[in-house]
């Protein structure tokens, strides 16, 4: 069992990493550990637990900005922002339910390390698009800062983005500054019932290509809507509209008109919409189970074609991001959790990537949980890692 160190200040984090660098001791970096099941299992003698490094250090609603320590619970931040009618516009997903954990775990550091996003990714971007600046300690044991607290900043390289999605393998982030945005006053969802995957992808492309500012577009194949709280048996294609009340009602009318010829249309009101999109965001159709789960990113219009190629595999799936994000649960007992078939299908429909989000430790060790990279890119990744963490002490082996 690894020994856990739980520093309470950024200075102690620096001490720990310096010590680990000097002694070449590998560290597993954790917040709440809510995403610990993603990537290769880390073998480390010590766990550097950041959850005591907690607290919001700056919040200026008028400036649309806040700063907090890396171990601050995301739930605490979301509550603070909600009280001022603001939010993290990229809708960070909560991985907890997929792993059978309580919802609402996770820290701000993890939001960046995993580059979280939600259904609004297609309109508002991911964590990478909202991070403004940070402080961190590299694997060399050097404390540094990057970025700032203003939205427009091209002073030097965008290192904050460089750490987004790096899964704690380059540096230990201690403080983060994010931009925030006003919460929408009204939300509505236009549902189109009974569409095939292909018809749904076409409908979502049409909606996204309209001027109605659709902020979420998902498709649940037949039999899956119940797990998202809808009493519907048929397939459901959902289009979300957000904004000022008059604008939302005007646009849902318009979208309704646009979709009527494609299938039966229903409208969800604000509370129903909130529940529904939280379910999509957190991948609730596949929550509380243990079958291997892949997250795929492809060109949105290729969604249906991808799944057509996988028609013979035993799996369940649904689409978010207008077809560009596909959650695939593999129900058969294939040893490679259909990895080969999925990666081949992605290449065949124009490229993208697949990440094994849930799988046994054996599975995650045996296959490549992240998309394998072509040689020059893999070499570049390795060089970046070596520059920041030459001894490989931060989350060794994770990616």
């Amino acid at each position: 069992m690894a020994e856990t160190l739980r520093p309470e200040t950024a200075e102690s984090v620096l001490d720990v990493v310096r010590w680990a660098a000097a002694e070449q001791v590998p560290l597993e970096i954790l917040g709440h550990g809510s995403k610990r099941g993603i990537g290769r299992p880390v073998q480390a003698e010590y766990t550097l637990n950041l959850s005591a490094l907690s607290g919001v250090t700056l919040y200026e609603p008028d400036e649309l900005v806040f700063s907090a320590k890396a171990g601050t619970p995301l739930a605490e931040i979301e509550k603070l922002l909600a009280d001022a009618n603001q939010e993290l516009a990229f809708e960070p997903m909560d991985y907890g339910p997929i792993f059978g954990l309580e919802p609402g775990t996770g820290t701000l550091g993890g939001v960046l390390a995993a580059n979280l996003a939600g259904p609004r990714r297609i309109k508002a971007g991911a964590a990478r698009d909202h991070i403004l600046g940070l402080s961190a300690v590299s694997g060399r044991g050097e404390a540094f800062k990057a970025g700032g607290r203003v939205v427009k900043n091209v002073t030097g390289y965008d290192l904050s983005k460089g750490l987004a999605g790096s899964w704690g393998t380059l540096a230990v982030v201690t403080d983060l500054t994010f931009k925030v945005l006003p919460r929408p006053e009204r939300i509505a969802t236009v549902l189109v019932l009974g569409l095939s995957d292909e018809a749904a992808c076409a409908a979502m492309a049409e909606a996204m290509g309209s001027s109605h500012e659709v902020s979420g577009a998902a498709h649940l194949p037949k039999g899956m809507a119940r797990s998202c709280g809808l009493a519907v048996e048929s397939s459901v294609t959902a289009l979300r509209l957000e904004g000022f009340p008059s604008s939302v009602s005007y646009r849902s009318e318009a979208l309704n008109g646009m979709m009527r010829d494609r299938g039966a249309v229903e409208i969800l009101d604000m509370p129903q919409s909130e529940n529904f999109w939280r379910a999509i965001r957190d991948c609730l159709p596949f929550a509380g189970r243990s079958d291997p789960l892949w997250r795929v990113s492809i060109a949105p219009r290729a969604g249906a074609a991808l799944m057509a190629r996988l028609a013979n595999e035993p799996l369940n799936y649904f689409f978010d991001w207008a077809g560009g994000r596909v959650w695939i649960e593999v129900t058969g007992s294939a040893e490679d959790a259909a990895e080969g078939a999925i990666r081949r299908a992605i290449r065949a429909v124009g490229g993208g990537h697949a990440t094994l989000i849930r799988g046994s430790a054996a599975l995650r060790t045996g296959l490549s949980p992240f998309e394998p990279q072509p040689a020059p890119l893999a070499a570049l990744s390795r060089r970046l890692k070596e520059n920041f963490d030459p001894q490989g002490i931060l989350n060794p082996g994770r990616i």
Partner: protein
Amino acid sequence: MSVAMPGPKAEILARRGEIAKALSAIVPGEGVITDPDGMRPFETDGLTAYRQLPMIVVLPETVEQVQRVLRYCYDNEIRVVPRGSGTSLSGGALPLADGVLLVMSRFNKVLEVDFENRATVVQPGVTNLAVTRAVEHRGFYYAPDPSSQIACSIGGNVAENSGGVHCLKYGLTTNNVLGLEMVLITGEVIRLGGKHLDSEGYDFLGLMTGSEGLLGVVTEVTVRILRSPETARALLVGFPTNEDAGRCVGDIIGAGIIPGGMEMMDSLAIQAAEDFVHAGYPLDVEALLIVELDGPGEEVHELIERVEAIARDNNAANIRVSQSEEERANFWAGRKAAFPAVGRISPDYYCMDGTIPRKALPKVLHRMKEMETEFDLRVANVFHAGDGNLHPLILYDANDTDQLERAEAFGSAILKLCVEVGGVLTGEHGVGVEKRDLMGEMFSEDDLAQQERVKCAFDARQLLNPGKVFPELHQCAELSRMHVHKGQLPFPDIPRF
């Protein structure tokens, strides 16, 4: 203006003829320029105070040529400066005396328009405006819109992470680029992202965007295109004081409204713009705000009313709401022509680009007024008010060395002030050579060392665009050394389990 560039290497200069010949074999015909007259147009970019003829200019046409040119330069340790359209305002494309200037303007094709995936694939030499031109017949556009958009290239936009008026609502270049193809100095081709979101692995897309030509040469860009908003209308609001205008900006955003654009001008800029384009700007105000609201008609209608009310609460002296597309364009005409307009009232101007927290605006404007007296030079102010990005234009005469020096000192003082109030040196124009030596105002040595290590991962020999961004050039070997701080574990004060 004086910033020391890396000294030319005599052994490279001595081999100039041989190098030109080798490069001509890779890029035949008119793709290699060596005579000084032919190279003259490339000796400077948008920051004209700096000039330097390159050793050789190369204009490749294919990715393979770019690969071979870079590989040759890598093998022979020749420095390379990439260039797009040469509109950089920070000297990013300033040539080196012993360097190859790699001009990407022949990469000028739109390769693919994919409306269903809302993506367009272009070569890097395509101008920013041409991306929109290629998709507007179907009602789409490319959101980042630098004022230089008729001239600047997408490759340059990526290198500088350029912004524009619409970035407040729709993001900067970095938020609108989906994929890149680039060539490393070794000649290796790297592809990042594509029409899908969130490229897997480290966010090299994020690192490349804004890297000022120091990491790789961009040879293809996939951008996100958006459906044009149904309606756009603008308000033109005059205020008796800068403070009123600044507060109004904060109140609009505080009310949960993110306008499509929100720009501010001070009295000198208003006057210059009005004299130049006759946009009908009020001349008896200290500050002018242009607020554009875009989206569905219903929404725009409602927001215009909300913004009008906020403006009135902030002592607006006069408010005009555009009643037609023509009138809206007219409101913008003065703002868009602000730089050339200021160019008419002064022989030269020096454009600064700091960003500050919005709330610091009154303080910064006030201090700048005082500095006008200290440095005995005038400043016209144009800002992207919504995101706190200032463009003070310092008026001077370059023929007067004393004025030139004062202008430079004034500029530095403004940027230091921006950092002091919690802001940054540059919001969208880049560090280049211009702000290179001010990096220490914002970053410690360790901060800069981490950025240099990114450089080392891409270009360990430091051949791509050296002398830009970093105040000091450290060898990658030196940077890679570990400084070991021997410590002892039992940290008494760290809880353990």
